[in-house]
């Protein structure tokens, strides 16, 4: 008997990600010389979904810090990510880094009419001319 005969895909996802969700990468575009505070990545989840962030990829050709932030109900949550130097980092986790604070629309401010957002901003110094950065987010969306 092979394992594929005794476990289904939903069960495997429960074990892998803690919920029956299929993850996907949301790729950002390459940003040239991002200014301090500039949004370098932005994406949304539908109003009828919760979004869980299971990882990120950041590539930067200059020493910088990034701020990952997202809407969670009436609050905006944020994670500060300093980069040691120019370089690339991939982080994927078995548990969402926003477990307990899923991406969702702002119930009060928007009346549920706008989707929840998740974004990354350049938080450190301005990029020098010719510098580049690129951000991708590993996301899982489940029905609210």
């Amino acid at each position: 008997m092979h394992i594929g005969g005794v476990i289904d895909e939903g069960g495997a996802r429960l074990v892998r990600h803690g919920r029956d969700v299929e993850l996907r990468w949301s790729y950002g575009t390459e940003i040239l010389a991002p200014l301090q505070g500039q949004t370098v990545f932005e994406d949304y989840v539908d109003v009828d979904k919760f979004g869980y962030i299971y990882g990120y990829e950041i590539t930067s050709t200059h020493d910088n810090s990034m701020l990952l932030f997202w809407s969670a109900g009436t609050t905006t949550q944020s994670i500060h990510i300093p980069l040691q130097s120019k370089g690339s980092t991939y982080v994927t986790l078995p548990v969402a880094l926003n477990e307990g604070y899923p991406i969702s629309y702002n119930d009060v401010a928007t009346g549920g009419s706008k989707p929840g957002f998740y974004a990354v901003a350049s938080f450190g110094t301005d990029g020098i001319p010719g510098s580049k950065c690129n951000v991708s987010i590993l996301i899982g969306e489940v029905p609210r």
Binding site: I7, G11, I79, H80, Q84, T89
Partner: protein, 148 residues
Amino acid sequence: MTQQVSFAESINAGGSRLLRWGRDVEPEWEYGGLWYSLPPGGDLLTYEIPTGKDVYIYGYFISAEEENEFVVGWLNNGTFYTKRIQFPSKGTLYFVDNVAINEGYPANYRQGDPYDGIAIYNVNAGTGNPTGGAVYQAGLLHADIEAE
């Protein structure tokens, strides 16, 4: 007569949590805010232990814009336990394990204990001033269960 049940039929959310974490729990993150220019021993994050709970630590997040040393500290039955984390430079660290780092020594609070929470703090002073200094942040991946 023994009834055979496939894994697909027997797995459920509780079963998957047993496989993922060793107990039927779903850990959640608690994050501190952004801190600038912290004094030595400044709490980046304090998670208050709910009454009657044992708390298991399945991971942590630390980010700092400079070299420093950090401590995760908690009380178990009145004894203070620590995990020390070295940052050789600025950087970001996500650590998650499927075995709690305090397995066997869950954080708890007993009446009369000097602390009622789990803390992550920096050992050395942060540089800069309160508005423009080096930025620090910490997070804790915790699971709370009924105390034995």
